[in-house]
Protein backbone atom coordinates (compact mmCIF):
# COMPACT_ATOMS: atom_id res chain seq x y z
CA UNK A 1 0.00 0.00 0.00
CA UNK A 2 1.00 3.60 -0.48
CA UNK A 3 1.92 5.54 2.66
CA UNK A 4 3.45 8.93 3.21
CA UNK A 5 6.03 9.11 5.99
CA UNK A 6 7.03 12.69 6.80
CA UNK A 7 5.74 13.60 3.34
CA UNK A 8 7.93 10.98 1.60
CA UNK A 9 5.98 8.41 -0.44
CA UNK A 10 6.67 4.91 0.86
CA UNK A 11 5.48 1.57 -0.47
CA UNK A 12 4.80 -0.58 2.57
CA UNK A 13 3.40 -3.98 3.42
CA UNK A 14 3.42 -3.27 7.18
CA UNK A 15 -0.12 -3.56 8.45
CA UNK A 16 0.32 -1.92 11.85
CA UNK A 17 1.98 1.26 12.98
CA UNK A 18 4.36 -0.71 15.22
CA UNK A 19 5.63 -2.72 12.27
CA UNK A 20 6.15 0.35 10.15
CA UNK A 21 7.99 2.18 12.96
CA UNK A 22 10.23 -0.80 13.66
CA UNK A 23 11.42 -0.56 10.08
CA UNK A 24 12.27 3.15 10.39
CA UNK A 25 13.15 4.07 13.97
CA UNK A 26 15.59 2.31 16.29
CA UNK A 27 14.13 0.78 19.44
CA UNK A 28 15.78 3.13 21.93
CA UNK A 29 14.78 6.24 20.04
CA UNK A 30 12.00 8.20 21.69
CA UNK A 31 9.58 9.49 19.07
CA UNK A 32 6.02 10.74 18.80
CA UNK A 33 3.79 9.68 15.94
CA UNK A 34 0.69 11.06 14.29
CA UNK A 35 -1.42 9.35 11.66
CA UNK A 36 -3.36 11.78 9.51
CA UNK A 37 -2.53 14.47 12.07
CA UNK A 38 -3.99 12.54 14.99
CA UNK A 39 -1.44 11.77 17.69
CA UNK A 40 -1.29 8.02 18.37
CA UNK A 41 -0.08 7.18 21.89
CA UNK A 42 2.67 4.57 22.08
CA UNK A 43 0.32 2.17 23.88
CA UNK A 44 -1.90 2.08 20.78
CA UNK A 45 0.77 1.64 18.11
CA UNK A 46 0.33 -2.13 17.85
CA UNK A 47 -3.43 -1.84 17.33
CA UNK A 48 -3.21 1.02 14.88
CA UNK A 49 -3.96 -0.48 11.45
CA UNK A 50 -2.59 1.39 8.47
CA UNK A 51 -4.52 1.88 5.27
CA UNK A 52 -3.71 3.11 1.79
CA UNK A 53 -2.70 6.79 1.57
CA UNK A 54 -2.28 7.25 5.33
CA UNK A 55 0.04 10.08 6.25
CA UNK A 56 2.38 9.19 9.07
CA UNK A 57 4.40 11.89 10.77
CA UNK A 58 7.25 10.96 13.07
CA UNK A 59 8.62 13.59 15.45
CA UNK A 60 11.72 13.71 17.63
CA UNK A 61 13.15 16.05 20.24
CA UNK A 62 15.76 18.57 19.20
CA UNK A 63 17.60 21.39 20.92
CA UNK A 64 15.55 24.50 21.54
CA UNK A 65 14.86 27.30 23.98
Amino acid sequence: MQLYVNDEPVQSEHSTLTELLNSIVSAEQRVAVAVNQQVVPRSQWSECLLKDNDRIDIFESIAGG
Binding site: E8, I24, R30, V31, A32, E60, I62, G65
Partner: protein, 257 residues
Protein backbone atom coordinates in the same frame (compact mmCIF):
# COMPACT_ATOMS: atom_id res chain seq x y z
CA UNK B 1 14.88 29.33 48.50
CA UNK B 2 13.01 26.62 46.61
CA UNK B 3 10.29 27.09 44.01
CA UNK B 4 7.31 24.81 43.51
CA UNK B 5 5.40 24.52 40.24
CA UNK B 6 2.51 22.08 39.96
CA UNK B 7 3.78 20.14 42.98
CA UNK B 8 7.32 19.84 41.64
CA UNK B 9 9.96 21.54 43.78
CA UNK B 10 13.03 23.11 42.22
CA UNK B 11 15.98 24.20 44.32
CA UNK B 12 17.37 26.22 41.40
CA UNK B 13 15.47 29.22 40.11
CA UNK B 14 17.35 29.13 36.84
CA UNK B 15 15.72 27.31 33.96
CA UNK B 16 17.68 26.79 30.80
CA UNK B 17 17.27 25.98 27.13
CA UNK B 18 19.20 23.64 24.88
CA UNK B 19 19.25 25.69 21.67
CA UNK B 20 22.16 27.38 19.88
CA UNK B 21 25.06 25.55 21.56
CA UNK B 22 28.03 24.86 19.30
CA UNK B 23 28.00 21.22 20.37
CA UNK B 24 26.42 18.82 22.81
CA UNK B 25 29.42 18.71 25.17
CA UNK B 26 29.26 22.46 25.71
CA UNK B 27 25.53 22.30 26.24
CA UNK B 28 25.81 19.63 28.91
CA UNK B 29 28.74 21.34 30.65
CA UNK B 30 26.93 24.68 30.68
CA UNK B 31 23.65 23.32 32.02
CA UNK B 32 25.51 21.30 34.66
CA UNK B 33 27.52 24.34 35.79
CA UNK B 34 24.36 26.45 35.94
CA UNK B 35 22.73 24.12 38.47
CA UNK B 36 19.54 24.30 36.40
CA UNK B 37 17.02 21.55 37.12
CA UNK B 38 14.77 22.05 34.11
CA UNK B 39 15.68 22.64 30.49
CA UNK B 40 13.63 23.14 27.36
CA UNK B 41 13.55 21.14 24.15
CA UNK B 42 11.78 21.52 20.84
CA UNK B 43 10.14 18.99 18.58
CA UNK B 44 10.48 18.52 14.85
CA UNK B 45 9.60 16.00 12.23
CA UNK B 46 12.45 13.54 11.87
CA UNK B 47 14.70 13.82 8.88
CA UNK B 48 14.54 10.17 7.85
CA UNK B 49 17.68 10.40 5.74
CA UNK B 50 19.93 12.43 8.04
CA UNK B 51 19.34 10.48 11.24
CA UNK B 52 18.89 12.02 14.66
CA UNK B 53 20.81 14.26 17.09
CA UNK B 54 19.95 12.03 20.01
CA UNK B 55 19.89 14.94 22.40
CA UNK B 56 17.76 13.12 24.96
CA UNK B 57 20.26 10.64 26.32
CA UNK B 58 22.87 13.08 27.71
CA UNK B 59 20.13 15.25 29.20
CA UNK B 60 18.49 12.27 30.88
CA UNK B 61 21.88 11.28 32.29
CA UNK B 62 22.19 14.78 33.67
CA UNK B 63 18.91 14.24 35.52
CA UNK B 64 17.29 17.54 34.57
CA UNK B 65 13.56 17.79 34.04
CA UNK B 66 12.73 18.18 30.36
CA UNK B 67 10.29 20.87 29.30
CA UNK B 68 9.09 20.60 25.71
CA UNK B 69 8.08 23.79 23.98
CA UNK B 70 5.68 24.36 21.12
CA UNK B 71 8.10 26.48 19.15
CA UNK B 72 7.12 26.64 15.50
CA UNK B 73 3.41 26.74 16.29
CA UNK B 74 1.64 29.66 14.65
CA UNK B 75 -1.75 29.27 16.31
CA UNK B 76 -3.52 27.50 19.15
CA UNK B 77 -4.36 24.44 17.07
CA UNK B 78 -0.73 23.85 16.13
CA UNK B 79 0.40 24.45 19.71
CA UNK B 80 -2.06 21.87 21.03
CA UNK B 81 -0.89 19.38 18.42
CA UNK B 82 2.74 20.05 19.35
CA UNK B 83 1.97 19.62 23.06
CA UNK B 84 0.28 16.27 22.45
CA UNK B 85 3.25 15.08 20.39
CA UNK B 86 5.70 16.32 23.01
CA UNK B 87 3.82 14.45 25.72
CA UNK B 88 4.44 11.25 23.77
CA UNK B 89 8.03 12.01 22.80
CA UNK B 90 9.18 13.12 26.25
CA UNK B 91 6.72 11.34 28.52
CA UNK B 92 5.76 14.52 30.30
CA UNK B 93 2.55 16.48 30.61
CA UNK B 94 4.48 19.70 31.13
CA UNK B 95 4.65 22.07 28.20
CA UNK B 96 5.92 25.55 27.51
CA UNK B 97 3.42 27.10 25.13
CA UNK B 98 4.98 29.51 22.69
CA UNK B 99 3.08 30.72 19.67
CA UNK B 100 4.79 33.28 17.50
CA UNK B 101 3.44 33.85 14.03
CA UNK B 102 5.94 36.64 13.30
CA UNK B 103 9.47 35.51 12.53
CA UNK B 104 11.20 38.88 12.83
CA UNK B 105 10.42 39.70 16.46
CA UNK B 106 8.98 36.35 17.55
CA UNK B 107 6.32 38.16 19.54
CA UNK B 108 3.98 35.71 21.25
CA UNK B 109 0.36 35.83 20.06
CA UNK B 110 -1.73 36.56 23.18
CA UNK B 111 -5.09 35.49 21.76
CA UNK B 112 -3.94 32.14 20.42
CA UNK B 113 -1.90 31.56 23.57
CA UNK B 114 -4.91 32.05 25.83
CA UNK B 115 -6.97 29.66 23.69
CA UNK B 116 -4.23 27.03 23.68
CA UNK B 117 -3.62 27.26 27.43
CA UNK B 118 -7.31 26.90 28.22
CA UNK B 119 -7.59 23.75 26.10
CA UNK B 120 -4.31 22.20 27.28
CA UNK B 121 -5.24 22.71 30.93
CA UNK B 122 -8.51 20.92 30.17
CA UNK B 123 -6.47 18.07 28.68
CA UNK B 124 -4.44 17.74 31.86
CA UNK B 125 -1.24 19.52 30.89
CA UNK B 126 0.91 21.60 33.22
CA UNK B 127 1.07 24.70 31.05
CA UNK B 128 3.78 27.34 31.12
CA UNK B 129 2.90 30.08 28.64
CA UNK B 130 5.50 32.35 27.03
CA UNK B 131 3.88 35.75 26.66
CA UNK B 132 4.48 39.44 26.35
CA UNK B 133 4.86 41.27 29.66
CA UNK B 134 1.13 41.99 29.76
CA UNK B 135 -0.32 42.09 33.27
CA UNK B 136 -3.91 41.69 32.07
CA UNK B 137 -3.07 38.64 29.98
CA UNK B 138 -1.25 37.14 32.96
CA UNK B 139 -4.41 37.38 35.07
CA UNK B 140 -6.47 35.82 32.26
CA UNK B 141 -3.99 32.96 31.95
CA UNK B 142 -4.10 32.41 35.71
CA UNK B 143 -7.89 32.23 35.53
CA UNK B 144 -7.83 29.48 32.92
CA UNK B 145 -5.35 27.44 34.94
CA UNK B 146 -1.84 28.26 33.73
CA UNK B 147 0.60 26.92 36.34
CA UNK B 148 2.92 29.90 35.91
CA UNK B 149 3.44 32.79 33.52
CA UNK B 150 6.54 33.41 31.44
CA UNK B 151 6.62 37.07 30.42
CA UNK B 152 9.45 38.24 28.19
CA UNK B 153 12.16 40.67 29.21
CA UNK B 154 12.86 41.50 25.55
CA UNK B 155 12.60 39.69 22.20
CA UNK B 156 13.92 36.11 22.13
CA UNK B 157 17.68 35.94 21.66
CA UNK B 158 18.04 39.73 21.65
CA UNK B 159 20.15 39.98 24.84
CA UNK B 160 18.52 43.34 25.62
CA UNK B 161 17.74 42.45 29.22
CA UNK B 162 14.65 43.58 31.10
CA UNK B 163 13.27 46.06 28.57
CA UNK B 164 9.79 45.30 29.93
CA UNK B 165 10.76 45.97 33.57
CA UNK B 166 7.90 48.32 34.58
CA UNK B 167 5.37 45.77 33.36
CA UNK B 168 7.21 42.84 34.90
CA UNK B 169 6.94 44.70 38.22
CA UNK B 170 3.16 44.89 37.86
CA UNK B 171 2.94 41.22 36.93
CA UNK B 172 5.08 40.21 39.90
CA UNK B 173 2.91 42.32 42.22
CA UNK B 174 -0.35 40.82 40.98
CA UNK B 175 0.43 37.23 40.12
CA UNK B 176 -0.73 34.34 42.25
CA UNK B 177 1.25 31.84 40.12
CA UNK B 178 5.04 31.82 39.72
CA UNK B 179 6.46 34.45 37.36
CA UNK B 180 9.34 33.23 35.24
CA UNK B 181 11.06 35.90 33.17
CA UNK B 182 11.82 34.38 29.81
CA UNK B 183 13.57 35.76 26.74
CA UNK B 184 15.92 38.68 26.34
CA UNK B 185 18.10 37.96 29.37
CA UNK B 186 21.55 38.56 27.94
CA UNK B 187 23.78 38.76 31.00
CA UNK B 188 23.85 37.48 34.58
CA UNK B 189 23.13 41.02 35.84
CA UNK B 190 19.78 40.92 34.00
CA UNK B 191 18.91 37.65 35.71
CA UNK B 192 19.93 39.03 39.10
CA UNK B 193 17.78 42.11 38.51
CA UNK B 194 14.75 39.96 37.68
CA UNK B 195 15.15 37.90 40.84
CA UNK B 196 15.80 41.00 42.98
CA UNK B 197 12.55 42.44 41.67
CA UNK B 198 10.73 39.35 42.91
CA UNK B 199 10.50 37.20 39.81
CA UNK B 200 10.28 33.57 40.89
CA UNK B 201 12.72 32.33 38.26
CA UNK B 202 14.29 33.10 34.90
CA UNK B 203 14.75 31.06 31.75
CA UNK B 204 18.07 31.58 29.99
CA UNK B 205 19.22 30.04 26.74
CA UNK B 206 21.00 32.26 24.23
CA UNK B 207 23.19 34.10 26.72
CA UNK B 208 24.67 30.84 27.96
CA UNK B 209 24.79 29.07 24.60
CA UNK B 210 26.56 31.76 22.61
CA UNK B 211 29.11 32.71 25.28
CA UNK B 212 32.66 31.91 24.23
CA UNK B 213 32.87 29.85 27.43
CA UNK B 214 29.38 28.45 27.97
CA UNK B 215 30.35 26.44 31.03
CA UNK B 216 31.71 29.48 32.87
CA UNK B 217 28.70 31.52 31.79
CA UNK B 218 26.44 28.82 33.20
CA UNK B 219 28.18 29.20 36.53
CA UNK B 220 27.91 32.99 36.33
CA UNK B 221 24.15 32.72 35.83
CA UNK B 222 23.86 30.31 38.74
CA UNK B 223 25.56 32.79 41.05
CA UNK B 224 23.58 35.74 39.72
CA UNK B 225 20.24 33.99 40.22
CA UNK B 226 21.21 32.95 43.74
CA UNK B 227 22.40 36.46 44.57
CA UNK B 228 19.27 38.05 43.13
CA UNK B 229 16.98 35.77 45.10
CA UNK B 230 18.94 36.28 48.32
CA UNK B 231 18.69 40.03 47.84
CA UNK B 232 14.95 39.77 47.30
CA UNK B 233 14.50 37.68 50.42
CA UNK B 234 16.75 40.01 52.41
CA UNK B 235 14.70 43.04 51.39
CA UNK B 236 16.37 45.84 49.46
CA UNK B 237 16.30 49.42 50.78
CA UNK B 238 14.05 52.12 49.38
CA UNK B 239 15.20 54.35 46.53
CA UNK B 240 15.28 58.09 47.29
CA UNK B 241 16.53 61.28 45.68
CA UNK B 242 18.59 62.76 48.54
CA UNK B 243 21.53 61.38 50.46
CA UNK B 244 21.22 59.72 53.82
CA UNK B 245 24.47 59.45 55.74
CA UNK B 246 25.79 56.01 56.46
CA UNK B 247 28.04 57.35 59.25
CA UNK B 248 26.63 59.25 62.19
CA UNK B 249 27.57 62.96 62.35
CA UNK B 250 29.64 63.68 65.42
CA UNK B 251 31.05 66.80 66.99
CA UNK B 252 34.51 65.42 66.29
CA UNK B 253 35.03 67.18 62.94
CA UNK B 254 33.96 70.54 64.35
CA UNK B 255 36.53 70.24 67.06
CA UNK B 256 39.30 70.01 64.48
CA UNK B 257 38.43 73.31 62.83
Amino acid sequence: MSLTIAGHTFSSRLFTGTGKYANQEQMIASILASGSEMTTLSLRRMDLKAGSDNILKPLQQLGVKLLPNTSGARDAKEAIYAAQLAREALETNWVKVEIHPDQRYLMPDPIETLKAVEELVRQGFVVMPYIHADPVLCKRLEEVGAQCVMPLGAPIGSNQGLASKPFLDIIIEQSTVPVIVDAGIGAPSHAAAALEAGADAVLVNTAMAVASQPEMMGKAFKLAVEAGRMAYESGTGKVQQTAEASSPFTEFLKELS
